[in-house]
Symmetry: C2
Subunit: 263 residues, 2 copies
């Protein structure tokens, strides 16, 4: 058993595990943590090391306590294995998921075309440590992480809105656990919502659905992240994420569909 907290908190044995205390925002487990927990079970089933594309629909809040990952292999191909199933507590489905796993240790192709690069960030130490007491609700999750926000992107903490829904910063674990392809699932939901920079009515912005594409195995060190919401309309918003490793490789892309606070 690993000594790292994230590994203990995402342990799944024969489809059974626990939502651990301390990975929550105001009592509800973080969506990225829940996705990683479910993915541990799906990955065991798939028998391939890396989540390539994983989608979760968020159906019930995750409170601490026992959970089950119930899933099945839909197709085992030459390069990929697709699984589908759920993270639940008895009859209650918390997450419904479909995902394809593979092996990213070797690139599957050599052609490269990147229209942009990693976000411009001050060095890790010059960014602002996100702690559990910023914002309106306590975020115990932040005790587990070492998330550093771009100093220009912290105005929402004091109610100053930039008017542009973008938040960038660094992600690492507080106990130094390496960021691997499983952890990238958590990274993609570990930042304050980019819409906090808007003059939207305040409130809880639940995730309806999150899809993460893991694009490469990260090199050692904290990762650079940027999240942007381009379109808030009709009660919904997108939040698109990019995660880049210490050598400038794109390691994950994410998109979630969120709900604006109910009027």
């Amino acid at each position: 058993m690993s000594d790292f907290v994230f590994d203990r908190a995402t342990a799944i044995t024969d489809g059974a595990g626990d939502i651990h205390d301390g990975w929550d925002i105001g009592g509800n487990a973080n969506g990225g943590y829940l996705m990683a927990l479910a993915a541990r079970g799906l990955r065991d089933l798939a028998g391939r090391p890396d989540p390539i594309s994983l989608t979760a629909h968020y159906l019930s809040p995750g409170r601490p306590g026992p959970v089950q990952v119930e899933a099945n292999v839909v197709k085992e191909g030459r390069r990929f294995t697709t699984v589908a199933g759920r993270l639940g507590r008895d009859a209650t489905t918390i997450l419904q998921l479909v995902g394809t796993f593979g092996d990213l240790s070797q690139p599957l192709g050599s052609y490269e075309h990147l229209e942009s690069g990693p976000p411009e960030l001050p060095p890790f130490e010059q960014c602002v440590l996100r702690d559990r007491h910023q914002g309106q609700v306590a975020v115990p999750l932040m005790d587990q992480l070492d998330v550093r926000i771009h100093p220009d992107h912290t105005g929402w903490m004091e109610g100053r809105r930039r008017g542009v829904a973008e938040i960038a910063g660094w992600f690492g674990f507080a106990d130094g656990r390496p960021v691997d392809t499983l952890a990238l699932l958590m990274v993609c939901d570990a930042f304050p919502p980019a819409v906090f920079h808007l003059d939207m009515p305040p409130g809880w912005v639940p995730t309806l659905e999150l899809t993460v594409h893991v694009r490469a195995v990260p090199a050692p060190g904290p990762v650079k992240c940027v999240f942007r919401s381009h379109f808030v309309q009709g009660g919904f918003f997108n939040e698109d994420g990019e995660v880049w490793d210490s050598v400038g490789t794109l390691v994950a892309q994410s998109r979630q569909l969120g709900l604006t606070p109910l009027a």
Copy 2:
């Protein structure tokens, strides 16, 4: 029974339907058509009119002939119903899906923030009709559609590459069928891949996964579309789509994870 071809070609009765001939690219049914076909079955089950977020993993090619939609309701909530299942032919899974359906006839929120608008396009008539004979492979699908490509985005047809993976244009049905929220699923995969504008080695670019967020019910008329691939790397690429209706409302966003041609 509707007189429109798309409605006949996506008919599902008690979970049974057919992949119709004529919706293919070189013999394989278009991915957006397959998603719409599956969604007809899922929508019946959900009992709500609009796909809000739908994800499909593409596991086997779709050849003409009988198929089954096998799915179940995961959660029926106050505003949304989530379903999960597959489009298959006997033991072969063609698409594995998870989706949430709802009712977009009334907006769920009034706050709006759009960081950009619809793509700049010449009028419908001044764009280039996509027909089945452009490109390297016959595309019978195009007989069903009235897809008009931005005149600056057609160079790939003659092997002239722009070097920017972006393609924009108009979408309508050849027989004038209105573009509703079901059809938007098809719209999001109806354009030539944006990566055709790159100097990538030519070949089939299979879709591993496609997620569509339907954001609003389209106003009457053809819709404006733009698809962009920002990151081609390690054998994978993203293709992000936006679909806007005739009154300038964002009606869908999509992202797919594609595979570059095998070397």
